[in-house]
């Protein structure tokens, strides 16, 4: 049995960031990175960006580390393998190829998987999901010949893929189960701004419907909705959420909820087992609740903190205000901090759809906790600082509601 001081399961942003951090301090400790993919670290966030898809960015730009980086840093890369069970008492990890690894310290940074359709016809060719480089390549190839596309879902994957499909010249229909785009993270006016951008670009939107069946012989030729409507298409793009692949680790006694549970140091309940990235459901010190956050910046920063904690004697808490941005079809969208809906939230509208610039400032008690920004990304950084500083904004509701008020004035 191979024995390593550090074993990291997951070769994405969180896992590699942890490996890099460990190596900065511990130059000689043996380290293995297990990945379910064969690739060196690549930019998962680039996979959904039109500039990449349409070939404006050279394909190889997607790789953030070369194979030589792992060798130079004496990191054993174990690709195309998944973890299948964990013995936390004897510190042994079993992999899908039958091998076992003994570890002193383990990081579980396995990410999440796409939720897939579970309806008749879901196995046909021409149905796409987007998580891996291979998924991206398949879509890149298909959009060259595709004519008519249907997208399912009202979140960021769908939004970015609609932009791409439109740029690639496909006639596109967007199907949402929800009443408006990005419900319930955004409010209806924000959602309608996005829908207007879509409609202006010739995208047809059908709301509050679900797909009953994917039709066609071996290849998709359309979808039938639950109301009986049939939409012809040769490409079906699904962005219908994610699932956490945690069944294998539950038996080991690692505490889970939706993701793998961790405290603010990203420690799980098992000794010497940490978690980071999309799979981690960690205690967020700023929001004072357990959250699972799926984005690149967050994963990278969590990997760094987990790496520091695995290598050192000092425990570093993960304290970070998350943000996420996207753009397309002439609109920019940014989320900062905690944007989850909740009854205790006070929402202050800032700007309006009428002026094509609309933010929602989210407050709990006297403090700002988050914001959603449509065409106002430039304010994201200031809002992030206001959240971080725990600025008391209780007497500034009118200022926050004034789209021309400079938020920097509240920084003091």
């Amino acid at each position: 049995m191979e024995k390593y001081k550090y074993v990291i399961i997951g070769g994405g942003a969180a896992g590699v960031s942890a490996a890099e951090t460990i190596r900065q301090t511990d130059k000689g400790g043996s380290l293995a990175v297990v990945s379910d993919e064969p690739h060196a670290l690549y930019s998962r966030v680039m996979l959904s960006k039109p500039n990449f898809f349409l070939g404006k960015i050279p394909f190889d730009q997607v790789y953030l580390k070369g194979d030589d980086w792992y060798k130079e840093n004496q990191i054993q890369f174990l690709g195309s393998k998944t973890a299948v069970s964990l013995d936390g008492t004897n510190k042994i990890l079993s992999l899908s190829d039958g091998s076992q690894l003994e570890y002193e310290k383990l990081l579980v940074a396995i990410g999440v998987r796409v939720r897939t359709l579970n309806i008749p016809g879901a196995d046909k060719q021409g149905i796409h999901y987007l998580r891996t480089l291979e998924d991206g390549k398949k879509i890149m190839e298909h959009i060259k010949t595709g004519k008519k596309a249907v997208t399912i879902g009202g979140g960021f994957i769908s939004f970015e893929m609609i932009d791409l499909l439109k740029l690639a010249g496909l006639e596109t229909t967007s199907i949402l189960r929800e009443a408006y785009f990005w419900e319930p993270i955004l409010d209806e006016p924000s959602g309608l701004m996005i829908e207007n951008a879509l409609t202006k670009n010739g995208i047809k939107i059908i709301k509050q419907v679900e797909i009953a069946e994917v039709t066609g012989a071996e290849t998709v030729d359309g979808v039938t909705l639950k109301d009986g409507t049939h939409l012809p298409c040769d490409l079906l793009m699904c962005g219908i959420g994610v699932v956490s692949p945690i069944d294998w680790i539950k038996q080991s006694g690692v505490a889970t909820n939706k993701g793998i549970l961790a405290n603010e140091y990203l420690e799980t309940n098992l000794p010497d087992v940490w978690t980071a990235g999309d799979i981690a459901e960690y205690k967020d010190l700023l929001l004072e609740e357990n959250v699972q956050m799926g984005n690149w910046v967050n994963a990278k920063e969590q990997g760094r903190i987990a790496g520091l904690n695995m290598v050192g004697n000092d425990r570093h808490p993960f304290k970070f205000i998350s943000f996420y941005t996207t753009q397309g079809l002439g609109i920019t969208i940014a989320f900062v901090g905690d944007v989850a809906p909740g009854q205790d939230r006070i929402i202050i509208p800032r700007g309006s759809p009428a002026i094509n610039s609309y933010a929602r400032i989210i407050i709990v008690g006297q403090e700002l906790v988050g914001a959603t920004l449509i065409n106002r990304t430039a304010e994201m950084s200031t809002i992030s600082k206001l959240i971080e500083n725990n600025t008391d904004i209780s007497t500034h509701h009118a200022d926050l509601a004034d789209p021309n008020f400079d938020l920097k004035k509240l920084l003091g």
Binding site: A13, S43, R44, V45, M46, K49, N51, K56, I57, Q61, L64, W296, V297, K300, E301, F320, F323, Y324, T325, T326, Q327, T332, A334, N375, R376, T377, A378, M380, S381, S384, K385
Partner: protein
């Protein structure tokens, strides 16, 4: 030529004299802000802009460029040589 923006750096003792943002590559992932909010902001087009080229030391600046998931931040030394990405 692609859509690039150059920012001159004049921090004393620094080996880096220019920061370049390739706006075609930038996707607004904002990882550079996470490393150095003193240096960068995003504009309303979701593209990174340099707000203060002199605020942080060379190590932090290199870390911020390294953090970019599209390698949209380029750093140059005083002789005009590109030092990141290598």
């Amino acid at each position: 030529m692609s859509n690039i923006k150059e920012y001159v750096r004049q921090r004393e003792g620094s080996n880096i004299s220019k920061i370049v943002i390739d706006r075609d590559l930038c996707i607004g992932a904002a990882s550079c802000l996470a490393v150095s909010g003193e240096t960068y902001n995003l504009d309303n087009e979701n593209k990174a802009v340099v707000i203060d080229a002199d605020s942080v030391d060379d190590d932090t600046l290199i870390m911020s460029a390294e953090s970019c998931p599209t390698k949209a931040i380029l750093l140059f030394d005083k002789t005009g040589k590109q030092i990141f990405p290598k």
